[in-house]
Amino acid sequence: MSVLPLDAADEVATEPVPAAERPARAAVLKRPGAVLGVAWLVFLVVASFTAPLWRPYDIDAQDLAHRLEGPSAAHWLGTDPNGRDILSRIFSAGTEPLLVSTLTVLVAFGIGIPLALMAAQRGRRSEQVTSRLTEIVMALPSTILLLAVIGVVGVKIYLVMTVLGVMISAVVYRIMLGVAQSVRQRLYVDAARVNGLGSLAVNVRHVLPGMATVIAVQAAQLFGIALLIQSGLAFLGFGPGEPEPSWGLMIQTASQHIYDAPWLMVPTGLVLAVTVVAVNELADALAGKATAEKVVPKRRTRLVSSSTWPAADPDAVLEVRELSIAVDDGPQLVTGVDFALRPGRVLGLVGESGCGKTMTARSLLGLLPDGVSVSAGSIRWQGRELVELAQQLKGIRGREIAMISQEPMVALDPMFTIAFQLTQPIRRFRGVGRAQAKTIAADLLRSVGIVDAERVLKSYPHQLSGGMAQRVCIALALTGEPKLLIADEPTTALDVTVQAEILSLLRALVRDTGLSVIIVSHDLGVVADICDDVVVMYAGEVVESGSAAAVLDEAAHPYTMALLGANPHVPEGVPVPLRLASIPGTVPPPGSWPSGCRFATRCQFAQPQCHEPFAVLPAHDGGLVRCVRVDELAHDHVTWDADDTADTVETRHALGERQVASTAPARSETSSPTPPTAGVSS
């Protein structure tokens, strides 16, 4: 049995399951429309195929005394111009459209999917040949060509719909090629190929299952299209001849009696329309499109009354007090965060993913994701309260507080030139004309270290490298001459030499303009490079804060110690450790934080008192530490132990067992993948 820990679950808790893998059944059942749709389709199939057994009248039983009548006890859906029972005829007519539409879908998929799989597997050359061919087929006018086929071969509906299937297969190919190519990008396909799995098996086992959702959605949509085309052809008279009933012809008849018997168009039209609506509703549900966006009531924020907090730091420009952020009607994401920022200082928010650092940073500008809001606490910016003052925030965004984000390549609008994106805010913030705004934009770009500013101004974002794009983002953030810059993992997506350039640039800006910066990072090296102060977060709360030098050099909290020990970076000439420190277990996801110390279950130094609530202690001359044993640990000069001692192995082992046990019921219930949180949030 294993002795190593089961590790972090935080990514699992936050990472949404990709839409393609979501169990389709659950998605369908969640939508009332789709449930009704499936029910109708089942009813229609059963009723149509069993029609000869139950229909009240024969399809050509004429009742000339009751022609063109509305619904009655004898004829529930009325009668047609020959006095034939509509109910009997509608359901007797149902088998053919259902069968030929299925045939069309099968033909289209039978050709389109294998072609797409082959094209995705082979190189570009053969893919291009197939793609050009299908482009030609797609450009053929399908309805008119179908009529031409009928003109030549006559009304042989199965043959005609097969031809339609062949033409649609080009569309299927185009859609499936894209999907197959993107599934083949997934690394598990490469892994299977490296294992030596044959190409047929790779396609069947690994590529096709990844396409299942799209195939199901497309099948439903195509089925609906085929239904409409089949009944359209019948409407034009290219369906089964009289007295055989067909939906299209029944509607054609209705159109001729619109003056004397308008009722006639209702039953058949409704059955056809409801069937297509049902099929499309099913397709939407399979695609996981949400029609019902939850309306979330805005939660009122509980402000910490200012009397509780006598201005602790009179020099601070920004004071965050008791800040809590929560999913509306859901778990808390961040609780009781306190920190203050002085002008011209750089503050780092650090922690692993899922610790709430990005949420904290975004709340400062009111840019939390939909459905997440500040639930309590106070954010004071230069004496003004930002929480609950959305209107005031608009004047502050860009002008006083600006932000740059993690992915510079997607942070700029791909449709507009850099010049457009920079001059718009410059004109708004500085009230200058177009020409002057352009001059200012070029100056700004030079100030962030872009040499050929004129060329960059003319460029579109996709023409820039990542480092260049991040410089442009910084320039954009500076257009309103803000006093505070919030940088959310500004260098994580960049190469290390580019990261160094950006860090140097930020430092120069702080030095030259007196800008304050809050930088969110998971990298303690970045923090050491640029930050004056640091706030370490774990599971939604601050565990340690203080000056960067104090926190990193004399870490008081075991979590900070462990993070430092896990970092493999040491200066040149210093020997690399043989083993790195690691933390057993997982960051508990929001909503399942333990009481007392949230880190206690993973801590090497945890003792019973750690599981009781305790007070935050002051530390690092103005900072704080959230550990009840901090004085003992400091006294004993302990460090986070990188080796697996017997004691810690014991803890880890127990933890591993508990996690496995907690997942066992979920596994036995169903063989399909269970939601990720069920397995890991022990």
Partner: protein, 349 residues
């Protein structure tokens, strides 16, 4: 000139021959005229990996490091050069031919989310390569369980699906999949760069343990020299598809003789504010050009436009790898690099 020509780059004497030999590898992307005119993604790279040894292949984005991995695995056909496993040329073998001949080469990819098929149980994923090697049902499943336990996961995880595991756990499963067939060489393509720090440390420790227990050879592809220093004995530093410097990892990172390696080392921050402040000053004094600066000339040194030591010869002539101070270095001015590094040297407490 190859990477192994430098004396110090040769492996310990107790092993007889390298398990993996790569010679003058060239890989191009794109086809047709445009593909041929663009500079190759990998441009004449050579290296050896000896039994039980970890070779770190380091470079930034666009350096071609992952492309080399793909070419070695047979996932992308090389345009030139050879790849030999146990002395046998496997360069142009199809993946299917490889599976019969070379069960000794396996891979762990970077992204733990897309490297496991969400529609298949962990057991199915692990058993698949064993079946291909001819193992029967019960035996294969027993091996899959043992494989999971060897990476610190419970054996009964075979019945679960990938969505039930965290990123670090999935990466363990991916490692187990690579190791169930008892390969001799494993290509690790950025196996820890998608993981959080504490998880990254766990996986790095695990990889080190497994290597030591089983005598595995790793081709460890990474962008982070710090991680490479932890796991690798030797390293190859790449820039724009070419080898800049290669040799024992400590010699390369601490006593580099190439300006690019120096830049890379200087740019990696250490989590100690006082030291990092000095390093930052030194880094800024190095005078490395911005990554967005001019494109290098086709016939010259790829790093010349950013290099503080560059002269006319660097623009005109591509430097060959040559032995310098126990490493192989592709730099006309390798002897002047120590002057650069003097700016970087920080007194250690």
């Amino acid at each position: 000139m190859t990477a192994t020509s430098a004396p110090a780059a040769t492996a310990p004497a107790d092993t007889t021959a390298p398990v993996l030999e790569v010679r003058d590898l060239v890989v191009r992307y794109g086809s047709g005229r445009r593909g041929r005119s663009a500079p190759p993604a990998v441009d004449g790279v050579s290296f050896d990996i000896w039994p039980g040894e970890t070779l770190g292949v380091v470079g930034e984005s666009g350096s071609g490091k992952s492309t080399i991995g793909k070419a070695v695995l047979g996932l992308h056909p090389p345009a030139g050069g050879t790849v030999k496993l146990h002395g046998r040329d496997i360069t142009s073998l199809s993946l299917k031919q490889r599976s019969r001949l070379v069960a000794d080469l396996r891979v762990v990819f970077q992204d733990p989310y897309s490297s496991l098929n969400p529609a298949r149980t962990i057991g199915q994923t692990l058993v698949e390569p064993l079946r291909l090697l001819g193992l029967k049902g019960a035996e294969a499943w027993a091996k899959a369980r043992a494989g999971l336990e060897s990476v610190g996961l419970p054996g009964d995880a075979v019945d679960r699906y990938p969505t039930q595991f965290s990123g670090g756990q999935r990466q363990r499963i991916a490692i187990a999949r690579a190791l169930v067939c008892d390969p001799k060489v494993v290509v690790l393509d950025e196996p820890v760069s998608a993981l959080d720090l504490s998880t990254q440390a766990q996986v790095l420790n695990l990889l080190a343990d497994l290597r030591d227990q089983r005598g595995l050879a790793f081709m460890f592809i990474a962008h982070d020299l710090g991680v490479v220093r932890f796991l690798a004995q030797r390293s190859v530093v790449l820039y724009r598809g070419q080898v800049m410097e290669t040799g024992p990892v400590e010699a390369v990172s601490s006593h580099s003789r190439h300006p690019y390696t120096a830049a890379l080392t200087a740019a990696a921050p250490v989590p100690r504010p006082a030291e990092q402040a000095l390093r930052r000053v030194a880094r800024e004094a190095l005078g490395i050009g911005s990554a967005g600066s001019a494109q290098p000339t086709a016939g010259g040194c790829p790093f010349a436009p950013r290099c503080p030591l560059a002269t006319d010869v660097c623009v005109d002539e591509r430097p060959a790898l040559r032995p310098v101070d126990g490493k192989s270095v592709a730099c006309h001015h390798a002897e002047r690099v120590p002057q650069l590094l003097d700016r970087l040297t920080v007194p250690h407490p």
